[in-house]
Amino acid sequence: MATYGKHIQIGEPVLPAKGIEKALKAAAQKDPRILPVLEDMGFPGIDWWTENYPERMVEVGIAEQNGAVVAAALAAEGFVPVIYSFLFANIGRALNQVRQSILVDRFNVKFIGREGAWGEVGISHNTIEGVGYSRVLPNLVIMNPSDVVEAEKATEAMLQYHGPVLLRQESSPTPLRVFTDDYPFNIGKAYWVKEGSDATIIATGYMLTEAIAAIDLLEAEGLDVGILNMCTLKPLDVTAIVEASERSGAIVTAENASIIGGLGEGVAAALAENLPAPMVRVGIEDEFSQSGLITPERDDLKIHFGLRAEDLVVSVKECIAKKTRLRCRD
């Protein structure tokens, strides 16, 4: 059995959305500046909000561009607007509005962008490119929590931080509960879920669940592989990435999104500039997603994209082989 970090206690699958909802409600009771901005896509715990703070809900309708700029103005006047929608809509649809009216002036607007790369809803809603186009935007902090505990803590941190933040909420598949309640979360700080000397999987979001499953398979083959959980995708924790390179000399990144512009590219740049190591990027190749039913027994899209624990095992071995080849050449 693998030895995990101090704040790891692997449990049952729980939706991260629950953590987000809990943190939002708790913060709203203490901080009257927090305003949900609705784009006709609901809001975490909407009934609770309607009952307790109906006057604080700003419904802008299916008009994300106006919604983004109205939120900017509300932030300019001291409020903390939280825009909840699909990531393709609240940032993607309003990309220029987010850039011009929010990020240029670093207004304190929070985005919760729904959907990872797969789910029943299909190609339109499965936003594989959301992290990519968000990472190039200056002044925007991006977080992609891995489980329900981290989702709660990241939401808390997002609301305390002064400045624009995107919190990606992957709705399906459901990740395992991984962290303990006293897990110390900090924006921009990665967490060592497990240390390992043969290779390191740097995982974000749902892929942490698959990485944990992969560790057991790898251990059975005698490989000691570490996991670094990277919740904050911008700014990346470069120190931890370099540490991973030092410790294991082989890096596999795992993300539930396009490998272009995402975690993999960020890690590759950090490695190349600091301590180069062979790496493999696991994620969605340059293609769009599609519909696919997800049940505990069956997940066609996970197989289609090659994002199962078994696929991670193959990538980790490939990466270790690259490392060995490089060492032989020396």
Partner: protein
């Protein structure tokens, strides 16, 4: 309700002075958005030098009226007003377009004191102005003034918001769908403290605005969106002041206000007027500047 002639004459003189300040800015790199700036100068003069609540010594005063220059490429007119108000010294005009200058190429909130909105990407300003107008309403809902506070001067008048939100729109900008999203939003939340002013100079970059993409019937459009609308000659100081006053007095009617100001692109400089100059460069620009300087006098 007509304003007295002395005030109108004074503001007309100020407006000419603002034009002259604009010429100084155009000279820095022999470049600038001459057409739209000249067409909006009279409205900007009326707003900044007379109508709005604004303290030049404290440009961030929380109770100042907000002014969103949605057609942010014509920020030269606002810079001229800020210089005239003494927020910036006259020398700053010569740094227009320069690296590190508070007078950036497009209106920028953090570079310039007295600018409320960083624009440049058209069509977004009305949403921002509406958001600020809504914030004023929301503050009153979430934290109603105490009995003691209601004795403060600003609450003595029954209908007086802490601040009003003004938005200056270009006519070409009305092609953007987001303007109409914002128009719906303002109507929904009954933003009677929001006043939009359309600088209707009839020309956008590619040609006549109504050929590029017809925006008429403009009055009916705003009316259909639930706004109170009026049309004025945007170069007649008396009419501008009257329209602004009227829109203030109607506060409490639950309707956002729109003033359609009919203007002339490049107004006051025949060289630019005939060419419907949008972005002037080089000799085209300087010919107009020379003509304008002769007409309005060199303030330096």
């Amino acid at each position: 309700m007509a304003h007295n002639d002395a005030l109108v004459a004074e503001l007309e003189a100020k407006s000419n002075k603002l034009r002259s300040h604009c010429f100084t800015q155009f000279c820095t790199f022999e470049q600038g958005h001459a057409g739209g700036t000249m067409s909006v100068v009279d409205v900007v003069t009326a707003l900044y030098l007379h109508h709005i609540k604004f303290d030049p010594k404290d440009p961030d005063w929380p109770e100042r009226d907000r002014v969103v220059m949605s057609k942010a490429h014509c920020c030269e007119a606002i810079y001229a007003a800020l210089v005239e108000l003494g927020v910036y010294p006259e020398e700053t005009l010569g740094t227009y377009y320069c690296y590190g200058s508070p007078f950036q190429g497009h209106a920028d909130r953090w570079s310039t004191a007295g600018i409320d909105y960083s624009g440049g990407s058209l069509g977004q300003g009305l949403s921002f102005a509406a958001g600020m107008a809504y914030a004023e309403k929301l503050k009153m809902i979430l934290k109603p003034p105490s009995a003691e506070e209601t004795f403060l001067p600003r609450y003595i008048k029954r209908f007086d918001p802490a601040y009003r939100s003004y938005c200056i729109l270009g006519d070409g900008e009305l092609h953007e769908g987001q303007v109409w999203e914002a128009a719906m939003f303002a109507n929904k939340f009954k933003l009677d403290n929001l006043i939009a002013i359309v600088d209707y100079n009839k020309w956008s970059l590619d040609g006549p605005t109504n050929d590029v993409m017809p925006i008429e019937p403009l009055m009916d459009k705003w009316k259909a969106f639930g706004w109170w609308v009026t049309e004025i000659d945007g170069h007649d100081m008396g009419q501008i002041l009257d329209a602004l006053d009227l829109s203030n007095r109607m506060y409490g009617d639950n309707r956002p206000k729109c003033i359609i100001a009919h203007t002339v692109k490049g107004y006051g400089v025949s060289h630019w007027e005939t060419r419907r100059m949008h972005l002037g460069r080089g000799e085209e620009m300087m010919k107009g500047v020379r003509e304008g300087r002769e007409k309005y006098g060199d303030v330096r």
